[in-house]
Structure formats: C-alpha cells, structure tokens
C-alpha cells in the first residue's frame, strides 16, 4: 500500500485560487477524508492526486515517487466518481474487467479477478446486466468492484455516496468501512457530509476556500476544533456561538455570564458550545438566560432552541422535555467544554 505526500500544493484557475499551499502526509493504509463545503478545493486536490488535473505548483508524492508529471495510468490509483462513471455500453462484467483489459491481463486471470471483485461487493448475479438496468446502490457497487479489481495502491473516492438515498447511504458507509478494514488500501475520500467523515476517517482534513483548516482524527476535530470554521462545520446540530468579552477567565455577553474559562483578556471573542454541553436548569441558576423559540422532537432526544441575547442557541434535551414558546428559560453550560475564538482572526484561544 502507498503513502501520499502533498507539499506546498497550489492550484490556480486564472486569478481564482482553488487550492492554496496545501501540505499533507497520508500514511499507508490510512483512510483520510477531505471534508469541506462546495468549492473548498477538496475535489481539486483529489483530482491532482489522480493525475486528472495539473498542480500549478508544489509536489505530489506517491510513496517516494514524485508524480506531478506522471499520467494517471502510471500512478496505480483507482477512483470512484460521484456519478460512478460506469461505461453505459458495457455490461457489469465488462465494466469491472476494463482496468485489466487495458493492461492486457490474460483472459483466465481476468475472469478470476472480476469474479473475486464482484464477490467482494456481492454483485455476482448482476454480472451480465447493463448499468441502466441497475439501481443506484448496485451501480455504486459496480464502481467499487471496478476500482477493487486490480488491487490498486491508492483508492480515491469522490463523494461516492452522495447520489444514494439516506438509508442506502448508511448501509454503504458501513460496507466501505468494512472493506477498508479487510483490504487496508490507503484511501482518500472526498465528502461534504461530516457524518461520513467522522464515521469513516482515520484522519479528517477540513478545508475551506482552498486552505487546510485542520488535520486531525475525527475525535480531535469534534472535541478540539482549531478555529471557528471547523467548530461550526462539524456537528449536527451545529455548535452555538455567542459574541462577548473575556475578562480574567469570565465570558460576558448579552444575557450570558460564564466564569472559570481560560485566563486572559480579550475584548472581542466568540464562545462556542455544543448543544449536548448545555442543560436546562431552574430559575436563577445557570449561565445563560433566554426565551424558548421552539422544541423539536428528533426521536431519541429533543432539541430546544432558545433566544439568548438575540442569538439562537440549540440545546439537546430529554425527549420528554416540554416548554411553551416564549417561556423564560435558564441554561447551564459545561464550562470544561466551552471553546473560545478570537472574533477577528477566528482562531481558537487556548
């Protein structure tokens, strides 16, 4: 299996910078997820690794080999496209066989490899069908089998689950995770879905506007975000943000007063707190005061949204929680789970 190193990688389209000074090291057998909103440069990065786009500057290494000027066919990578990119005029068998056929692998060996790959994703009975006769999930499996058939050194997946319905997506996610565990192929996976990123990744690289925001394990990304963007992008429902002032370890903002935070003085800070780190408490207690805006039952819990100092704050509460709209509410904050950010630089204050 291969390792991948990106060094000071840039991609520009005229004046538009798609990827800016990106440096990354992806270890052998790692499952790295490139996560970010549309247009953040994650797909462009993957396409440069695949050899489908040239880097404007910087280096791309697969193992110790610089591959900037190497054609895709010589990079020994396999890619699953968002659209699956199955060849419509070929049967499932011919689709899976394609990478071996262009490499002139002997017939018998080809047949064995195709059937083994089809077996891995359980599509042996579909082998004679055309792509148009398959469902979305089945097409996805064919695309996976085609990528698996020659055991590449590096797997590239560009939002492979985004065209599937919600239920199938959860199922295929589990299959992908299992497959990676079985085969141990180094994988780069592009997605804008943070749940996919957190569930699948060994490490997550969060990108925004072409810039790498944070590279860490899913746990770290969630529990220790490096800046306001990562904090806001990860988590569903998202992190709550309150603007205020930090004076000697005490955060004060409209309807908010939270002691025992980090030392220091900052006139302009943003406090971030996740919905599960807030609790509804009795009148007179707690750190935040506001009014009930809405209560939504999600099944295993409920989400209370309250207006605090003009901002909406979401709290995960017990599924049996009830409250009237506009009723006053007090909220307590888990002070060990508060994140403070500089409002100007948007970087974390520690």
């Amino acid at each position: 299996m291969a390792s991948v190193t990106l060094r000071k990688l840039w991609k520009k389209y005229g004046n538009f910078v798609a990827v800016s000074d990106l440096s990354l090291e992806i270890a052998e057998k790692e499952f790295l997820v490139l996560l970010g909103p549309s247009g953040c440069g994650k797909t462009t990065t993957m396409r440069m690794v695949a050899g489908l786009d040239y880097a404007s500057s910087g280096d791309i290494y697969i193992d110790d080999r610089r591959v900037n000027d190497v054609l895709p066919k010589y990079r020994d990578v396999a890619m699953v496209f968002q659209s699956y990119a199955l060849y419509p005029h070929m049967t499932v068998y011919q689709n899976i066989e394609y990478p071996l056929r262009v490499r002139r692998v002997p017939d018998e060996e080809r047949r064995t490899a195709v059937m083994r790959a089809a077996g891995m994703v359980a599509i042996e009975e579909l082998i004679d069908r055309l792509p148009k006769q398959l469902s979305g999930g089945q097409r996805q499996r064919v695309a996976l089998a085609r990528a698996l058939v020659r055991r590449p050194n590096l797997f590239l997946m560009d939002e492979p689950l985004s065209n599937l319905d919600a239920k199938l997506r959860v199922h295929m996610r589990a299959e992908l995770k299992h497959l990676h565990h079985e085969l141990g192929i180094t994988t780069i996976y592009v997605t804008h879905d943070q749940i996919e990123a957190l569930t699948l990744a060994t490490r997550v690289a969060v990108m925004n506007k072409g810039i790498l925001q944070q590279l860490a394990t899913p746990r770290e990304i969630y529990n220790d975000p490096a800046n306001l963007f990562v904090a806001g992008f990860i988590g569903s429902p998202g992190m709550n943000f309150l603007k205020g002032e930090l004076t000697d370890g005490r955060f004060q903002g409209p309807d908010a007063d939270i002691p025992d935070l980090i030392k220091g003085r900052h006139p302009d800070v943003v406090l971030g707190i996740r919905p599960e780190d807030l609790a509804v408490v009795a009148d007179g207690a707690g750190h935040l005061g506001g009014k009930v805006f809405s209560v939504e039952l999600t099944g295993e819990s409920a989400l209370l949204t309250a207006t605090v100092g003009g901002e909406l704050v979401t709290v995960r509460v017990d599924k049996d929680f009830c409250a009237d709209i506009d009723a006053p509410v007090r909220l307590a904050v888990n002070t060990t789970r508060c994140f403070l950010f500089d409002a100007r630089s948007e970087q974390r204050l520690r």
Partner: protein, 288 residues
C-alpha cells in the same frame, strides 16, 4: 389517450375518423414524394416508343432491360458508379476521421479564447457558396496534377464536409460526461484508448447521422465534378447521367435506368443506419 380525447373534442371528430384523415393525408404525401421515383423506375423498363406514347403508359405490360444493358454494359455507367462509390466512401472516411478528432479536441480541450475563434473559423468556411471556391480549387488541382482524378474529388468533398462533421461531432462529444474518459484514464487507458473504447461507441448515433450526410453530399455533388473531371476514369454518376443529354438527343432510357440505380445504394445505406439516424439527429437537442 387523454390527449387524443381532448384533440377529438377540439376538432369535433371521432378518433376513428381522425385516423382515417391522417391516413389519407399520408397517402397523398407519400404519393407526391414517391411518384417521380416510381415514374423513373417505370420509364427505366420502357422502350423509347412507350416512354413517349400518348396517353402515358402507367402500367408497363412489356418491361425491357434494354436501358439497363445500354447503360451498364454498352456504356461505362458501372465505372461511373464505382467512381462515385470510391469517392463517396473515401470522402466519408476521411472527413469522419479528421472531423471526429477535431470535434473531440474542440469539445474537450481548452485553448482559452482561441477555442471559440477556431470553432467559428471552421464554421465560416461553410458560409461561403461552394461555387466561389471552384476556380481556386481548379488552379490548385492543376498545379498538383490532380485534374481528372478521384483524389481531387475526395480532397475537395472532404473540405466541404469537414465543418459539418466537426460541428456535429463536437456537439455529440459535449453531451458525453467527461467523467467517463477520466475514469478510463485512471483505470489505465490512454487518452486515445479512452476515446476509441469508451467515447466513440457512445457517439455511434452521431457518427451514423454524420456519415450519411457526408455520403449523400459526395454521392450527389455535380458542379465540382463537372469542372474537375472529364474522362471515364474519374467521372462520377451525376456527370455520367448528365452526359446522356447530348447536342442531338436525350437518352431518357439510360438516364432513367442509371438515375434509379444511383438512388439504390443511398436508400439501402439509409435503411441500415435509420435507427441511429433518428436517434442521432435528436440526440443533444434537449437536456435531461
């Protein structure tokens, strides 16, 4: 069904009557279109006397192969037909090969602003009436000693066809998702391999539609062939047929026989590619 009911209510006719009306209209249209061809066929089996008899003989009770023997045995119409076939096939192959590659390059590769200019420039050569280019072409062929050769016709017709082929194929390729050839490249294929193994099979309807246009244009072309060729070794069918209108008489029998025979290959080819043709012409017209 709902549509039919609404239409019949609008026209005040029963669906049954509407079908009859449509059928009658179709019969007239078909008769109007086919009558000249059938009359040509009918005449080709008549003697000269029967052709000019009054009243005209609609059903020929005494068919003769005389005209066909005259045209294809006594006179070199078989040679003309062969010349036409060689010229049409070579032209079609040449313009499809060059035009497909050019269309692919224009659809897929980025040359910045030059790309738009190149496309327009290619198209602009089609805006000029072909007759304008006949004198320069004559001088050029004369310079290269290509007068009275099939090569000259192939070169000229390919030039006439190319803008059409380039634009047709460019629009077909633009409709095929780029992911497919990128996937083929990552799977281990070259650019050209991806074009031949993945893209061209998907562009087959476009190729069929374009090829029939090329074939018809070069099969029917008259003016340039008349100027450039003057002996049997390069004369094509339209020239051969026109040659039977002489100073003293018009050989209607031979003209009918060779004229009908000239239609047959194109009609046969159209039948073969008909399925692709209809799909090809509507392909890319609408998205989604």
């Amino acid at each position: 069904m709902a549509g039919t009911t609404t239409e019949s209510q609008e026209s005040g006719l029963k669906p049954q009557h509407q079908r009859w009306l449509a059928a009658i209209a179709l019969v007239f249209a078909v008769a109007y279109t086919l009558f000249p061809v059938l009359w040509l066929l009918n005449n080709s089996f008549k003697t000269r006397l029967d052709m000019f008899s009054s009243p005209p003989i609609y059903i020929n009770g005494n068919p003769t192969l005389f005209n066909y023997i005259q045209a294809f045995v006594e006179r070199p119409f078989l040679q003309y037909m062969l010349n036409s076939a060689i010229v049409a096939i070579c032209t079609t192959l040449l313009s499809l090969t060059a035009g497909t590659l050019a269309g692919y390059a224009l659809a897929r590769y980025d040359y910045g602003r030059a790309k738009k200019h190149i496309s327009m420039w290619i198209l602009s050569t089609r805006m000029m009436p072909p007759i304008v280019s006949i004198i320069p072409l004559y001088i050029m062929f004369s310079y290269f000693s290509l007068l009275d050769t099939k090569t000259a016709l192939v070169v000229a017709y390919s030039g006439f066809n190319l803008p059409f082929v380039v634009w047709m194929m460019k629009s077909y390729f633009a409709e095929i998702p780029r992911d497919l050839e990128e996937s083929a490249q990552v799977d281990g294929d070259t650019n050209l391999g991806a074009l031949f193994r993945v893209i061209l099979p998907l562009a087959a309807p476009g190729l069929a539609a374009t090829s029939i246009f090329c074939l018809i244009l070069s099969w029917n072309e008259f003016l340039l062939a008349l100027i450039v060729t003057n002996t049997d070794r390069a004369n094509t069918l339209p020239i051969g047929i026109a040659g039977r209108i002489t100073q003293y008489k018009v050989e209607w029998g031979e003209i009918s026989a060779s004229g009908f025979a000239a239609c047959v290959p194109i009609v046969l080819f159209a039948f073969v590619v008909q399925r692709h043709l209809v799909r090809g012409l509507s392909f890319g017209a609408v998205k989604g």
